[in-house]
Amino acid sequence: MTALSLRGLEKSFSGNPILKGVSFDAGPGEFIALVGPSGCGKSTLLRILAGLEGADAGEIMLGDRDLLPVPAADRNIAMVFQSYALYPHLTAAQNIAVPLVMRKLTRAQRLPLIGPLMPGQRKAVAAIKRDVREMAVSLKIDHLLDRKPGQMSGGQRQRVALGRAMVRRPSVFLMDEPLSNLDANLRVHARGEIVELHRRAGVPTLYVTHDQAEALSMADRVAVMIGGSLLQLASPQVIYDDPAHIEVARFIGQPRINLFPSQVGADGTIGFGDIRVGLHRETVPAGASVTIGIRPEFIRVSRSGQQGLPARIDRIEFLGSEIILYCRLDAIGEPAVVKLSPAEGDGLAAGMPVRLDFSAGHLFVFAENGRRLPSTPVDAPASLETAHG
């Protein structure tokens, strides 16, 4: 069942295409993280969903209602902004109350001076106050309700912004990098809280971020957007272990994936050092250029022996729980990054010659246009279907 469905959304600004036909579905209560480098169109997509920006083509269906012709105020979509966008002249309580005041009170009831004289106003205002207090208690900001945004810390403001977005029980929840203005410690803590809040609210949530750690750790599914196109939408594990496009592989993963140029051999396999991988379900002409990718944790280092490609260590980074080696392959002069446990890295030093052993089962092959080509090590044809079927 889908709650929110986007079909072929297109948008360009003065001739520059920003969104090139983005389509996806979100289930009810699903948390989708939209990641991508800055300028990839993810914030534009969010603004179109919110109704702050029009789309050139496509449709947005919420249930069976087309949202595009509906003005922002009537979409019942809530959004948390990167800057929080709290009203600076209102207290936290008033900020949280604004969406309720605009929806639950009639135009006449909202008027200053005359409003309180309207029938039913007192009751409605009391109900709003109660809702605001409940929301504040659940976000643990009830002691801040009388403060203005200027008197609050970043974390507190962020909670007020969350409260303002959630208090009216929206049917879709959008977040535009809500954690990027917090310091690193608070950010990790706030991740868990947002996931918890989302679980309680149970509405589809779109979370825009450029931080892959946030996307992978929080979301049910991760959507990778690059250059205005949605390249892959899948669970965090699939995004990491089975990227569909070279850009996805390049963007997700820290340190970045190693990419090496290669060519398809005469027998249709691809060789890299002493490893050969075969393509399956796809045929690529012999001699075509491809790119081989392998994540840094799937390269093993040996100081001697015949296994692997000879390389030299340029630089070593010690990160506590892991060690990052920056090496250069002797044969082709390309850099290679290796992630090791501190035990494995013991005794290594910059300038040392080593051999890098690539685990063939974890090689990705990408076509020239960036698309992933299903591949399997030639030596182990049995694992062919299970690995990438």
């Binding site: 902004f81 969406p99 605009m102």
Partner: protein
């Protein structure tokens, strides 16, 4: 740190400032002094600041009785208030639209605003006068107020201010369910008080002191603004009675001086904020 230490540079700076202040204050001080002098003092050959015969009571009585000072002040208040209210009511939505909404005529409007800033009232005075005469609306509050209700200066000032308001705030307001007018009333205006105060000072000072336009459209004393009233007072009533004239002037300038002293801090803020001089 010793604040009272007088270095040479500090002494020079202070004396220059004091000299400037004396030059600017001198006419006003002289006015206060003259307002208390009898006719014989004023035309005596010696120049003294302290009146020899204290005539404040006599001069102020004359000033208050010979022309209807309350009418003048009331007219001044009504005209300034009406002008200011209409200017704000027109300039704020206009500046908001130009700063935050995307529409096709935005560039054209910007050009028109710039053009409006360049054209002085003296250029449009004659056509306006003829039009008001044909409409038979000379000698009315309408004639005094109408030409100033659209203040391009106000639009420009608010435009600069609104551009600094983050777009996200406007977006959040839209998502919270506000109409564009609701955004102006609930988000823009409450956050624009510094700009509104600054503009109020510019507008009120300019129109309270304006003689040019009232002189053109008003010939009936009942609609005279304070500066115009002074003119009548001098021409018809006082003749060469400068003591009474200065007393009347004192009465008319007092509200602005008092307002300035009360809002001195804001006034300075306003000028620094807009980067403009009045």
């Amino acid at each position: 740190m010793n604040a009272s230490a007088f270095t040479l540079g500090r002494a020079v700076r202070l004396s220059i400032l004091i000299f400037g202040a004396v030059i600017f204050l001198a006419p006003y001080v002289f006015m206060i002094s003259t307002a208390g002098k009898a006719q014989s003092d004023i035309f005596s050959s010696s120049l003294s600041l302290i009146p020899q015969h204290w005539s404040y009571v006599a001069n102020f009585t004359k000033a208050l009785t010979r022309v209807s000072m309350t009418t003048l002040l009331w007219n001044g208040v009504v005209v300034c208030a009406l002008i200011f209210v209409f200017q704000v009511m027109i300039a704020i939505p206009c500046a908001y639209a130009m700063a935050k909404l995307k529409f096709r005529a935005a560039r054209l409007m910007m050009v028109l605003v710039m053009l409006g800033l360049l054209v002085p009232i003296h250029a449009t005075a004659l056509p306006l006068y003829v039009a008001f005469d044909r409409l038979a609306v000379l000698n009315s509050y309408f004639a005094l107020v109408a030409p100033f209700t659209i203040s391009v200066f106000g639009i420009f000032l608010f435009l600069q201010f609104f551009r600094a308001i983050p777009d996200d705030l406007i977006h959040a307001a839209r998502l919270d369910g506000m109409s564009e007018l609701g955004i102006i009333g609930r988000v823009i205006v409450p956050n624009a008080w510094p700009a509104i105060t600054a503009f109020a000072i510019f507008s009120v000072v300019a129109h309270w002191n304006d003689l040019y336009w009232p002189l053109i459209v008003v010939s009936n004393q009942a609609y005279a603004t304070p500066p115009l009233g002074l003119l009548y007072f001098r021409a018809a009533e006082a003749g060469d009675d400068y003591g009474a004239l200065m007393a009347a002037t004192l009465i008319i300038t007092t509200p602005l001086v008092a307002a300035f002293l009360l809002a001195q801090k804001r006034f300075v803020e306003g000028i620094t904020m807009t980067g403009l001089k009045g």
